[in-house]
């Protein structure tokens, strides 16, 4: 009897002891990789590509934060006649509904945050530094849209479902020091064989860490120049620029290309080019030129007009789309001012997006252009933060224009582009010639106007930021000065200063949102901290 009992208890006990990992071995999904499989080599390319897709994606939802609406406000683009009137863009209307940019930037940040956590060791130091640099780009872009945002408490998952907001200015300072750290670290590791160098998975610089230093330093300069009108920070800004000035800045475009192909084209081409089946992609027929920027190109005899836009009726499927004949017939180009969406006087649509922007499905996407780098340097030099004075500022300014001509391929070759550029900036026309000796304000005005003319459809956020940070209430505008919407139902007197926080913050992070003044945001009066 006793034996039977003991035997049964042993059986029972054996049933209980199934091994320690009987339950814990089923934690990881067999259907999708978990963090152990997600190596830095697999996560980095997605982070870079996703980031460039946002900053380079000029098409998106209107009204909510979107770079497309900024392109329309800035006088670059407008909607083609024949489509229903876009009162959202024309009226400067913002809604708090669509959090696309917010979601997209935080989505990338989540991945970068993972990368930072996974790359603590020396071997992955370069990945770590790259992640820090990209993180700075994302957070800066968020601040530029929303001012105060969740930063130090963000991205913590269960650790904090209700992150509080940080002061925008503090975030800027923190990002500056992050970039400094990354630059110092990459520099220190350049000749350290123990530090792994990324390969093809670095879809921007293919592991050229020297280029990452230039990129990081350019990002840092851009960030500090953004604070040019925050007088209380001038001493800090100057010393920060000086600290890494010797590292240099981008002199060529920072381009991303993970391997775009006809079936998986670059974003710009996928919006305005021709699909493999021979039809125009959707944005090509929807979006056309804005008369404001055409007016400027026309007034300054700027051949880039023929590359930014097409003559009327020419689309990407037209046989002569890629044949830009110089000199241009400036009257072939036509667009609508912001607030109108009328048919061309001869009944056709507006000029379409041109062959300088829509090159081929495999064209690279622009993270930061050399043009932008030179214009930012020119401005910093003008302020005396970088050495060389006004003469050097002029050189950098002209380099910016030259790089723009080269980017668009004006004249068909680099040499030709350089020539056309020199002819262009050699003209004695306002906002083309660099008015050496004029007031800083008018020099800044000239630099930012040319920067605007160069960045059409490439990185519209920067001219928009420039306009806001140089906003002059007496003038009711910043630089560049662009025509205000002539739509009579517009809801504000000029482009909005900032965006509403997304409703998901109001709904799901209410207390922190309210504490950050979420309820009192006014797009035409609330300002980003770096605005005057």
């Amino acid at each position: 009897m006793k034996k039977v009992l003991i035997a049964t208890l042993i059986i029972t006990a054996s049933g209980m002891g199934c091994g320690k990992d009987y339950l814990s071995s089923l934690q990881n999904s067999p259907n999708a990789p978990t963090s152990s499989a997600a190596t830095p080599q697999l996560v980095l390319p997605a982070a870079i590509t996703n980031l460039v897709n946002i900053v380079n994606d000029v098409t998106g939802v209107i009204g909510n934060p979107s770079y497309e609406s900024q392109a329309v406000w800035l006088g670059y683009w407008n909607y083609q006649p024949g489509y229903s009137f876009n009162s959202g863009a024309a009226g400067y209307i913002e809604t708090s509904g669509g959090p696309q940019l917010w979601d997209n930037y935080y989505g990338i940040l989540t991945n970068l945050n993972f990368l930072l956590g996974e790359t603590q060791g020396v071997a992955n130091a370069n990945y770590h530094d790259i992640a820090e640099i990209l993180e700075a780009v994302c957070f800066q872009n968020l601040v530029d849209l929303y001012n105060d945002i969740p930063y130090s408490q963000a991205l913590k998952g269960q650790g904090n479902f209700y992150p509080n907001y940080d002061k925008a200015s503090d975030i800027y300072d923190s990002l500056t020091s992050k970039i400094d750290n990354a630059i110092t670290d990459i520099n220190a590791n350049l000749n350290n064989a123990a530090v792994g160098v990324p390969g093809v998975e670095d879809v921007m610089f293919a592991g050229n860490m020297q280029n990452w230093i230039l990129f990081a330093n350019t990002v840092k300069l851009r960030l500090l120049v953004r604070e040019s009108n925050v007088s209380s920070k001038m001493a800090y800004v100057t010393s920060e620029v000086t600290k890494t000035a010797s590292m240099g800045y981008l002199t060529s475009d920072a381009l991303v290309n993970p391997g775009y192909s006809a079936s998986k084209p670059n974003n710009m081409y996928g919006g305005f080019g021709v699909s493999p089946s021979g039809s125009l992609y959707g944005d090509a027929s929807y979006i056309g030129a804005n008369e404001a920027v055409i007016d400027f190109y026309r007034a300054t005899n700027d051949d880039r007009l023929g590359y930014f836009f097409t003559p009327k009726n020419v689309v990407a499927t037209s046989p002569n789309y890629y044949n830009v004949t110089l000199p241009l017939n400036f009257s072939d180009y036509w667009g609508n001012y912001l607030g109108t969406q009328n048919a061309n006087p001869d009944g056709t649509g507006s000029s379409n997006i041109g062959s300088g922007l829509v090159v081929s499905p495999t064209q690279s996407a622009v993270m930061i252009s050399a043009t932008e780098s030179y214009f930012v340097q020119a401005e910093a030099t003008l302020y005396g933060w970088l050495p060389g004075g006004a003469t050097q500022a002029q050189t950098l300014y002209q380099n910016g224009i030259t790089k723009s001509y080269e980017f668009l391929g004006v004249g068909g070759s680099t040499a030709a582009a350089d020539g056309y550029a020199a002819t262009y900036y050699g003209q004695n026309i306002g906002y083309v010639a660099f008015p050496t000796g004029a007031s800083t304000d008018s020099l800044v005005h000239t630099i930012l106007t040319q920067k605007w003319a160069a960045m059409n459809g490439i990185s519209v956020a920067e001219p928009y930021n420039d306009w806001r940070r140089t906003f002059n209430s007496g003038m009711n505008s910043g630089y560049p000065i662009v025509p205000v919407s002539i739509y009579n139902a517009k809801v504000g007197p000029h482009m909005p200063f900032r965006y509403y926080y997304p409703t998901e913050e109001q709904n799901n992070n209410n207390a922190a949102w309210a504490a950050a003044g979420g309820a009192t945001v006014d797009p035409f009066n609330s300002k980003i901290f770096w605005m005057p």
């Binding site: 009897m1 039977v4 009992l5 049964t8 208890l9 029972t12 049933g15 209980m16 199934c18 009987y22 339950l23 071995s25 089923l26 934690q27 990881n28 999904s29 067999p30 259907n31 999708a32 990789p33 978990t34 499989a37 997600a38 697999l42 996560v43 390319p45 997605a46 982070a47 590509t49 996703n50 959090p99 935080y106 989505g107 989540t110 991945n111 969740p150 963000a154 913590k156 998952g157 269960q158 479902f161 209700y162 992150p163 093809v200 879809v203 993970p258 391997g259 775009y260 192909s261 079936s263 998986k264 089946s277 997304p502 998901e504 913050e505 709904n507 799901n508 992070n509 209410n510 922190a512």
Partner: protein
């Protein structure tokens, strides 16, 4: 009808007439005191052959020496008497005090006497279960158990079922109960493969207290199915039953038959042909009939010669009078369905060993032409005892096949929707010939410009499913001493399902392609013209392996009887779902497409018609694979102490360890105590000629549960958007946060009840009250992405469910020839949302439950939450525009009512006269609403009778108000500016959800059956021992409030928590008539 009769193939038997050596025996049935017992049933053991005693207890029957007579009846214990030499006998039976000695199967298959139970349970025996001759066990439970809501949520050859015990308690997690078959958990899909004839009994544990021993899985109650394992009385019993069923559509939506096609067209059609016409009469401004429309907003029928569709390539048109067809499109298209069901079972055994073998074959021809399903199943079960050892086993294999029509080519519409887009003048019944390129049924010539010919759909789009299921249980016990036994049980369940859904390519003639534009045809509707063939191949393997060890100690100490059970359960659950697709509009049938899929802007499809193999396709196929595995280990103890058969105290404790949560958070306790007090035993003085017994019971329990899917604790990565680029791959983190901090959710339940029997237990009644608090519910919340994620599962929602349940059974009439038993039950239940998620979010509402159902703090759950028209806040009346007479849509949505019934009433009645028995099962569900989205859609098409309620003329919006001089006044003179398309289609009336929220209450007579037992007439022959013939009608009658003129409110769009939404995805309800012949050998 002829087909119906041929289905009833009565087995023919040539039975030798044998002269029986039986003698006539007379007898008398008395109780212990010698008082006669009236109307006892007297029959030969092992057969239904027998008689009944008269009012004085006297009976007579023929029997041979050595045969056994079985005396049975209500209120006393069954008694067997072996026939000896004597011809006159007196049978003394002992009166039962009550039915408390009834054995109930409780959690883990532990059998306990009902008197010892401190919580409510319900047992449905084989006979009650099979009254309605259900095709599956769930249908057999309708109306039988208080608090059990069994819904048939759609119709067709393979209907879907949903069972809910005590309403919905979980906001997001599923609310269906746990299903146990022979000690093993099975998934809800499996129980519908079990032959109801093989079931010995179904035990329903509604309360968390009763289910506590099952641990985490049982928070929604448990349905325990015990299958037959053979008989105990020696002789083999062979039962053969043949059922023939005819299925006819019933309760069809009310369609209009006054107006033909028009859908807002303008302009000139078929210009330059003899058929030229204008959409709008230029002189009168009235709309003309549009021959290719799916919407029915045209002029009134006038019987004039007209045509449908457009001229075909030979310049001919299909001429029909402009008048309604005598039958509507549904009636022209749908057919009578037939079901043939054959059951054969053999049951044999003695007191030590027994066996059961059951086989079943069911063939269903559906009401949709060519829809078909079949099921074949076989089950063996048995028990064997030798000495201190015993074992039992069951093994069940079933094969299920169904072949039903798939979706259409344009946007994947179901066939019913295609039919509802057919104006009343279309002779759809005559458009069957789609094969002939010149026929008006051909796709290129078909009249309807927006929907394809349903006859083409029936032949060219099929979803075929084949499912094999095996379940086996082996259990061995040792009982070395009286007071101890140990049981080891191993169970396995494997289901393998293979699905193939295909749709042939739709190719259009050059003429049809050219004719697009104003002379529209279906070619223009799918934007890409010709539609390629499409295919989905899917397999789903599910497997469950379980081991149970039970140690039972049973000992009496003086007046105390104790039972202690110690046990351990381990299970592993696994599923693997694999899908491949090409082409458009064929989705996954059973699973979810995980990844892949044809890239945007790319096309894919089948190369050849008739070859449904993914290898013969072009383009990039979509593919996905999803594996889910989880495990659990549970340890438990269960102690019952009984005092003198008067007082019972029972407690249990279980600790579970689950793989579903992160180590450290993955264990939890389940415990409960309950007590049963037989107050009529404690105070015998209470017992009198009226009150026979009484019992009070109470229970408290705390249960824990995990309602997450496997792998919900570790974050995963997706293939990053756009990748791979060439050979370069990349990953990005999923935006769903798999939260390792989650802990199990919990339910605290208090339940009290009373049971009593009166009039010698001829009336037995009970009442139960329960209060459940379901808190810490695992719950998906939306996060702001600044947290790094957009969603996460958290421990959140808190709901309280309360309810009252009443059960009554009565033997109303007991006489020699007449017997009438009635049974009734009533449940009143409400779940209220106490809180949702948290501090930073101010969340008072949770969406994502499905079908516009929401959880709203402070309101009953689930709540229909829909848009509303602008109303006068003081009167609640709709405000119409003072110039257009039309209502407008309000900005805010409103809570429109609960979607689960507050009241569920079930009634069964069984009336016998001699060998004739008449049974009725009826139920009522009320106190809830549903959203009649099918009617909303029919208003769009103009097919509903609803749209003719004002003769399509301008009218004053009923009961409305209008603003006059700054004041709201009753509207007496502002007519709608349009009473046709402009109101029913375009106005905000149709856009507002509240316009279609209707009372879901319904009385249903579920089953009416009349059966005759031929056993008496068969007493002269040996082989056939019994025979019964039954005529049966299921879903016989339905009574609904007038506002619901569309369909059965029980039907629902999905099987999930979000209830109360009728759509055109379900076929109309049907009524069935069956003839059942059953033979015992």
């Amino acid at each position: 009808m002829r087909k119906f009769l041929t289905l009833l193939v009565l087995p023919v038997f040539f039975c030798a007439l044998a002269y029986s050596q039986a003698k006539l025996i007379t007898g008398k049935v008395t109780d212990q005191q010698g008082q006669p017992i009236p109307f006892a049933s007297v029959r030969m053991k092992g057969s239904k052959l027998g008689t009944a005693a008269d009012v004085d207890g006297n009976f007579s029957l023929r029997a041979k020496t050595g045969e056994v007579i079985l005396i049975s009846g209500a209120g006393f214990a069954e008694k067997e008497v072996t026939v000896g030499a004597e011809t006159a006998i007196t049978v003394q039976v002992s009166r039962k005090e009550n039915n408390l000695t009834e054995v109930v199967v409780t959690a883990l298959g532990i059998k306990r006497e009902s008197k010892a139970l401190g919580y409510s349970t319900a047992t449905v025996n084989a006979e009650a279960l099979n009254t309605s001759k259900p095709v599956n066990v769930a249908q057999g439970l309708i109306g039988q158990v208080s608090g059990a809501q069994v819904s048939i949520i759609n119709n067709g050859v393979d209907p879907q079922i949903r069972i809910q015990l005590r309403g919905e308690r979980h906001v997001i997690a599923d609310n269906q109960p746990l299903y146990i078959v022979d000690g093993m958990e099975v998934n809800p899909d499996f129980i519908i493969t079990i032959n109801p004839e093989d079931i010995d009994n179904v035990s329903i544990l509604k309360s968390a207290s009763a289910a506590a021993l099952y641990g985490s899985e049982a928070s929604n109650g448990v349905v325990i199915i015990t299958t037959k394992k053979g008989s105990k009385n020696g002789k083999p019993i062979i039962n053969l039953t043949q059922t023939a069923t005819e299925e006819r559509l019933a309760y069809l939506p009310k369609l209009q038959n006054q107006f033909g096609g028009y859908g807002g067209e303008s302009g000139v059609f078929f210009p330059g042909t003899p058929y030229q016409f204008t959409a709008i009469n230029p002189y009168t401004g009235f709309t003309n009939y549009i021959p290719f429309e799916n919407q029915s907003y045209g002029p009134a029928f006038n019987g004039a010669p007209s045509f449908i569709g457009f001229p075909n390539q030979n310049g001919k048109v299909d001429s029909v009078p402009y008048a309604a067809q005598s039958k509507d499109a549904i009636q022209q298209f749908m057919q009578t369905g037939y079901t043939s069901q054959t059951d054969l079972s053999v049951s044999l055994g003695d007191s030590k060993n027994s066996n059961f073998i059951g086989v079943q074959y069911v063939n269903v021809d559906g009401t949709v032409p060519k829809d078909q399903s079949q099921r074949a199943s076989a089950r063996v079960g048995g028990k064997r005892t030798f000495g201190i050892f015993s074992y039992d086993y069951t093994a069940n294999y079933s094969h299920k096949y169904s072949n039903v029509v798939g979706n259409d080519i344009t946007q994947g519409w179901p066939i019913y929707w295609t039919l509802l887009n057919t104006p009343a003048n279309i002779p759809i019944g005559s458009l069957k010939n789609w094969q002939d390129p010149n026929s008006f049924g051909n796709l290129s010539n078909y009249y309807n410009a927006y929907y394809i010919n349903p006859w083409w759909q029936v032949d060219n789009a099929r979803n075929i499913s084949k499912q094999d299921a095996f379940q086996g249980t082996f259990s061995a016990s040792i009982k070395p001493v009286d007071w101890f036994s140990a049981t080891y049980r191993l169970s396995v369940q494997v289901t393998n399902a293979v699905y193939k859904g295909y749709r042939n390519a739709a190719d259009f003639s050059p003429y049809a392609i050219e004719a697009t534009g104003p002379s529209s045809n279906i070619y223009g509707t799918p934007s890409s013209g010709d539609i390629s063939g499409a295919l989905v191949d899917e397999t789903l393997l599910t497997k469950r392996l379980q081991q149970d060890i039970l140690l039972t100690f049973q000992k009496n100490f003086g007046d105390f009887a104790t039972t202690l059970i110690l046990g351990n359960t381990i299970w592993d659950r696994y599923s693997n779902n694999q899908i491949q697709t090409v082409g458009n509009n064929v989705g996954a049938i059973n699973g979810v497409l995980i990844s892949g899929g044809t890239p945007q802007g790319q096309t894919s499809g089948l190369i050849l018609p008739g070859i449904y193999n993914i290898a013969y396709s072009y383009g990039i196929p979509g593919a996905g694979n999803n594996i889910q595995e989880s495990r659990l280990q549970g340890y438990y103890g269960d102690l019952t102490v009984g005092y003198n058969d008067m007082l019972f105290l029972h407690g249990n404790y279980r600790r579970d360890y689950s793989s579903l949560l992160a180590p450290g958070n993955n264990s939890y306790d389940v415990y409960g105590v309950d007590a049963s007090i037989l107050f009529t035993e404690i105070f015998p003085g209470l017992k009198n000629s009226f009150l026979s017994y009484g019992k009070l019971r109470g229970a408290y329990s705390h249960t824990g549960q995990i309602t997450l899917n496997p792998y919900s604790t570790v974050n995963t990565f997706n293939v990053a958007g756009g990748y791979p680029y060439g050979g370069l791959s990349a990953l990005s983190l999923s935006s769903n946060y798999n939260n390792p901090a989650n802990t199990p959710e919990a339910t605290n339940e208090v339940e009290v009840g009373i049971e009593f029997g009166v009039l010698n237990n001829r009336v037995v009644a009970g009442a139960t009250y329960y209060h459940d608090n379901n808190y810490n519910q695992l719950f998906p919340v939306t996060l702001t992405t600044s947290t790094g994620f957009s969603s996460a599962n958290v421990n959140a929602a808190n709901t309280i469910s309360t309810g009252l349940e009443f059960d009554l059974k009565a033997n109303v009439i007991r006489s020699r020839d007449w017997k009438w038993d009635v049974q009734g039950n009533l449940a009143i239940q409400t779940t209220t949302v106490e809180s949702l998620y948290g501090s930073g979010s101010n969340q008072t509402k949770q969406t994502g439950i499905g079908n516009a159902n929401e959880a709203i703090v402070g309101m009953t759950f689930p709540q229909l939450y829909v848009s509303d028209l602008v109303r006068d806040s003081a009167t609640g009346k709709v405000i119409v525009n003072s110039s257009t007479g039309l209502p407008s849509l309000s900005n805010s949505e409103v809570a429109a009512g609960r979607t689960t019934p507050k009241y569920i009433l079930g009634l069964t009645s069984s009336l016998s006269y001699k060998a004739l028995t008449f049974r009725v099962i009826a139920d009522y569900r009320g106190g809830y609403v549903f959203y009649n989205s099918a009617e909303q859609n029919l208003d769009f098409t103009g097919a509903s009778a609803h749209t003719t309620s004002n003769g399509r003329q301008n009218f004053i919006y009923p009961n409305s108000e209008v603003m006059q001089n700054g004041k709201l006044v009753p509207n007496t003179n502002v007519y709608t500016q349009d009473g046709n398309l402009g109101f029913w289609v375009s106005s905000q009336y149709r856009a507002a959800g509240t316009s279609y929220v209707e009372n879901a209450a319904a009385w249903k007579v579920r089953t009416i059956s009349l059966s005759y037992d031929f056993t008496q007439l068969l007493s002269h022959q040996k082989i056939l021992r019994g025979a019964t013939l039954t005529a049966l009608c299921n879903n016989a009658l339905m009574f609904r409030p007038k506002e619901n003129d569309f369909t059965d409110p029980e039907f629902n769009f999905s099987n999930a928590n979000g209830q109360g939404n009728n759509t055109y995805y379900q076929l109309p309800p049907s009524r069935t008539f069956s003839l059942i012949a059953s033979f015992n050998f």
